[in-house]
Subunit: 208 residues, 4 copies
DNA sequence: AATGAATGAGGATTCATTCAT
DNA sequence: AATGAATGAATCCTCATTCAT
């Protein structure tokens, strides 16, 4: 009973509150975008008063940015990219694609919100958008590195084009699945995408 | 040209007012999405008071839906799909892709707004979203018809998969261009997409 | 065919339009009161555009006043007050009460709207309220005249008090019926009211 | 009385603010009814911004309902119904009537607003109306209990009829006073009403 | 670490009314 | 006799944010 304060759950637990807020915010922002996410709605969903949200986050912009950051990390975890692979390039590309497909089915909030933010064009850009584009750029570079290893005959420009195309396909297929729901077999489509990108890489290498 | 026409001005011209409102609305909604589009902003941009907008459109939902309808038609016109084609399937696919790419560069509002609406998941779906998904479905079917002609060896399911993949690539590449701006050569990437889709069709045909 | 314009129903028939507007307005105003009655709602219910309402009526105030006038006349007709009656005072009072009760069940709009207007206390009094209070005052006087005949022993002040009380009872019973619906047998209650008022008159006469 | 109390002022005093809002709202709603009561007017009268009103009340409906609740309680207090009575039934009925009359002169807002709400017939009934009808029903039952004691010869139906008639008279006389102002001696009329109701009770008892 | 209360700006929409035709 | 279009003021209500406690 001496350490009552410590034991007495619920009172003053900053970390947990922050998580509750973020949990509510991902859900809402992932469904309605930046403008559609009101602090009041987040407050209602997480049970904490609006003013408490402002204790944890500077402003709405800050909250959404944190949402993007956290959901990106959650997504990264879900992708479970295996260290160094073995096998033919096609095999490796296919495995990677399957992993990504699965991660997008399991944790779609990150990309859904990210794409909504990315498409918007407002005078003062939300920090969440900047963050999304940054992690996306990093992802682009990582993929390009792998591509450069898998297809050593491609020059830098070709690798970049290929990466851009690969990501575009992923985004587009994700949208299809978001729109059409479970009717779309995202894993199968990503497998097709992998094969097709692989062939394109091979062709581009030969053309050079 | 009579003095009457000169004198009235400003009083009662329903059709033109409707156009002015829609012009303003596409621009704003195409940049900021559903929630980001305020009636006040549309009013400011088109010069008519907010209450006049409500004479022409039942509510915001109705306005956005009309925006989608009109911008879809504008985009359709911009695609200028050529009547009877000649040439190999690859050539034909490539020409079509180039046309679409150009139309998306020239009239990006339709797809940008459409994708924003499509990604949202709100309890009461905006009618604009429904409309977008409908015209998109129609587009899907039209493309599938052409694909069935170009690649007669494909069964219905394969044609559908191919079409889905083709549209996904278009969406994804469009997003890339929206995000990275003129640095992305959309026409070139669509040319690559055309070839990739063509090869995918060929392989899908062989697998059967 | 020469008198085509005259025969060709529907085009330009001022009287009928006016009636249509009033029909719609009684219904709405009788249900929602002055503030609750919007020109748009009346327009929607009668099928004529709002601007047409302003062709027939100067403004909303004018419309509501006209509603009161017309519904008062309709009510007057419904009361079918018989010329000169025979019978004992009690019999005559009872018959009159029954007639009023029936008329209020059949045409409640007049009194419902009238009472709503009467209870309101706004800085600039609606003309409809003035009109209602006027016709009510006239009614009061007419009843007082009859009362003076039926109960000749009452002095003027007593007749006035009795009339006030009689009307108050009518209003109050009407409210009860409006609130509780058909569960309230208005005719029976008015019969009780008649008898009770009759006895009160008798007593007042004796006290003098 | 500490300096703290002096210094804060204005910041955070929920209970008092709520009262101020209600004070303003009774006054306005009691004069203009539901539709005639604008949040802006209440805000102007109580000094708090409109948005603050929404911190204390969910919406206008909620505010008006609270107004009814509070003004009913205020009225109940004003009636000062005396505990144990002595005297003949007539004496007791007369005393009660006088009390009610005085309370209605002193605190007319409750009944004025209540009757306005009661007379309205809108598709979605305001909660305030429901509340008014409820407290009114409770009042009805309380009066019926007293009536059953005062006039033990009456059966249940007769007591109900008598109560309905008593309340109707009160309502109607109140309307008369509202319409004609101080010219109407409400206390005197309620005295008459008391005698009339008493006699009616006697007659109803004999008829059985 | 948290929150009850407050607030000005802005949200969508409806209002009564006008006017050129 | 009637109406399509327009309009400024007002409607209810939500917004993001602040601040004293």
């Amino acid at each position: 009973m001496t350490s009552a304060q410590t034991t007495r759950k619920k009172r003053a637990n900053g970390v947990e509150s922050r998580q509750r807020i973020l949990d509510a915010a991902v859900e809402i922002a992932g469904e309605r975008g930046y403008d559609g996410t009101s602090i009041a709605a987040v407050s209602a969903k997480c049970g904490l008063p609006a003013s408490s949200i402002y204790w944890h986050f500077k402003d709405k912009d800050d909250l959404i940015a944190a949402v993007i950051e956290r959901s990106f990390e959650a997504w990264l975890t879900a992708v479970e990219l295996p260290g160094e692979e073995t096998g033919t390039p096609l095999e490796r590309v296919t495995v990677m694609a399957a992993n990504v497909a699965k991660s997008l089915v399991d944790a779609p909030d990150f990309l859904r919100l990210g794409l909504m933010l990315a498409l918007e064009r407002r005078p003062t850009e939300p920090r969440g958008r900047t963050v999304f584009l940054q992690v996306r750029d990093i992802t682009h570079r990582k993929i390009a590195e792998v591509a450069a290893v898998l297809f050593p005959d491609l020059d830098e420009a070709a690798v970049d084009t290929l990466t851009t195309y690969a990501i575009a396909g992923a985004d587009g297929l994700f949208v299809q699945r978001e729109v059409k729901g479970d009717a779309v077999d995202l894993v199968a489509l990503f497998e097709l995408h992998a094969r097709v990108v692989h062939d394109a890489a091979t062709r581009l290498a030969q053309e050079r």
